[in-house]
């Protein structure tokens, strides 16, 4: 079984952790985010260290610093994706262009996961899904 280790960090530790990992030549496998049952946001930075994954997790923060200046597009694309999916902002990230969402759909940020399915369908197709 591939090893997975979860480590809780604070918002201030995101950039120093990314710098340390980058210096050590560690690959950033994924930035993952979701809305927990209590409504708070969970963001985790998954670093691939040899045969294991170290998951640095932050809970309950809606504004985080970007690490795209450290990991280039390897961080910028996942950050842009999360910005469209959930209500999270990455300070310093260029979000002037959409990644997945069409330019004319919704307002472009934090919409896909938090908007109820029926409402999304209505906004895309202009009517409610027929039963």
């Amino acid at each position: 079984m591939q090893e997975y280790r979860k480590i809780s960090i604070t918002k201030d530790e995101i950039v120093p952790t990314a710098e340390r990992m980058r210096k050590a030549g560690v690959i950033l496998a994924m930035i993952h985010g979701y809305v927990m049952d209590d409504g708070r946001i969970n963001i985790s930075y998954e670093y691939q260290i040899d045969d294991r994954i170290e998951s640095y997790t932050i809970e309950g923060e809606n504004v985080l610093p970007t690490i795209s200046h450290i990991y280039d597009e390897a961080a910028a694309w996942p950050e842009r994706e999360l910005n469209e999916l959930i209500d999270v902002t990455f300070e310093g990230l260029d979000t002037s262009k959409r990644l997945f969402m069409p330019d004319n759909m919704l307002d472009g940020q934090g919409q896909i996961f938090v908007t109820p399915m029926d409402e999304l369908i209505e906004k895309v197709h202009g009517k409610k899904k027929e039963e």
Binding site: M1, Q2, E3, Y4, K6, G25, I27, L28, A29, M30, H32, G33, Y34, M36, D37, S44, E46, Q48, D50, D51, R52, I53, S55, Y71, D72, E73, A74, A76, W77, P78, L85, K97, R98, L99, F100, M101, P102, I112, F113, M117, L120
Partner: protein, 360 residues
């Protein structure tokens, strides 16, 4: 004076929708941008509405080419959360299908690349070989796409002795054919002229942008999850990472041809030493405990990562899918710089993109 040349989202040289904007001076590309999202189907959102059995069926349909990879990685993450141990025979069968899928994906890409450079006879040769692989997949799974071979706790179908013998015979034929294809590709003047020195991605850039899979290995970055973090008994098979140093389109061709030999080697070993015993948990319904886990699989195009979060209900709280093209596509602008507009289609295709996977 420079021009902006738009390619796509729908263009004859692209197999799937993506938009590239080329900033040119004369025939040369000075800079480029890439825009994605034309195939976004909201699969991650949809997965949160389905129960865990339905989600397995759903994720297998993220992509038609690497469908087994998606189902396998999702199942591995769920099994890791719940501590489910897959029987060894089940793991061997999973690895066999994964390698057949890699073969079929590599032959498919080789054919497309050869078609783009205008070498249609080699394109047909490559796709002819791919048919052998498709026949083998059909023999073992009953399907040519969406094999449905993965279930929680193992594999859905067993491999009989007769099926194993048939596939081994197919592999003998395929290996001979792959040798001939490798000989053509490595020595053909047309292939060399159109691919050598084209779309170079240096080792430094590959690491900086985070390229993975065969695309990274063609830039001399030796990453391969099958060896770096073994799963599905890959540590029991004798095979090597295919790495090539030149970082151009030619290197991407070479790496895939070499990987075909390695995949044939793995399947042969797995079929020859297929362990006896169960292939799955039988009729036992799996209990998915609350938790989270991230698992990785070396899909045909590179590392596929699934992070699954469960909350103790029959639904998943979140499935995060990070596919190889999502990692490799950002390298395209770097590769396009200082190449001619005529090579743009080939360079975009050289990462073996799957926009269906990437957009999800």
């Amino acid at each position: 004076m420079g021009y902006i040349v738009p390619i796509g989202p729908y263009h004859p040289s692209l197999e799937e929708p993506v938009h590239a904007r080329l900033y040119t001076e004369g025939e040369m590309i000075k800079d480029a941008e890439i825009f994605i999202g034309y195939n976004h189907r909201g699969i991650e959102k949809l997965a949160m509405q389905k129960n865990i059995i339905q989600t397995m069926v759903l994720v297998e349909r993220v992509c038609g080419i690497c469908s087994h990879s998606h189902a396998l990685t999702f199942a591995m993450a769920c099994e890791s959360i719940s501590g489910i141990k897959v029987p060894k025979r089940g793991q061997y069968i999973r690895a066999i299908i994964a390698e057949l899928e890699r073969l079929h994906s590599h032959y498919l890409w080789l054919g497309i690349a050869l078609h783009i450079i205008g070498h249609d006879s080699l394109f047909m040769h490559s796709w002819d070989d791919r048919e052998i692989v498709m026949d083998a997949l059909e023999e073992l799974t009953g399907n040519r796409v969406n094999y449905g071979m993965v279930t929680y706790g193992g594999s859905r179908r067993d491999i009989s002795k007769e099926q194993a013998e048939n596939v081994l015979a197919m592999l003998d034929k395929l290996e001979e054919s792959n040798k001939r294809l490798a000989d053509f590709l490595l020595n053909d003047k047309t292939v060399a002229l159109r691919t050598q020195g084209v779309g170079v991605l240096t080792t430094e850039d590959a690491i900086r942008i985070g390229a993975i899979g065969p695309h990274a290995r063609a830039s001399n970055v030796p990453v391969d999850v099958r060896i770096d973090a073994p799963y599905c008994c890959y540590d029991e098979f004798d095979f090597q990472k295919a790495v090539w140093p030149s970082g151009d389109v030619f290197a991407r061709v070479v790496v895939r041809v070499l990987e075909n030999f390695e995949s044939i080697k793995i399947i042969r070993q797995a079929l020859d030493s297929l362990p006896a015993g169960k292939i799955n948990m039988g009729n036992k319904v799996p209990t998915i405990k609350p938790g989270e886990y991230m698992n990785r699989h070396e899909a045909p195009r590179g590392q596929l990562s699934y992070k699954v979060v469960t909350n103790g209900t029959d639904k998943v709280a979140r499935v995060s899918i990070h596919v190889p093209t999502f990692k490799n596509a950002p390298t395209v602008p770097t590769m396009l710089r200082n190449n001619s507009v005529a090579d743009a289609g080939l360079i975009i295709a050289s990462i073996d993109p799957c926009f269906s996977c990437m957009d999800r």
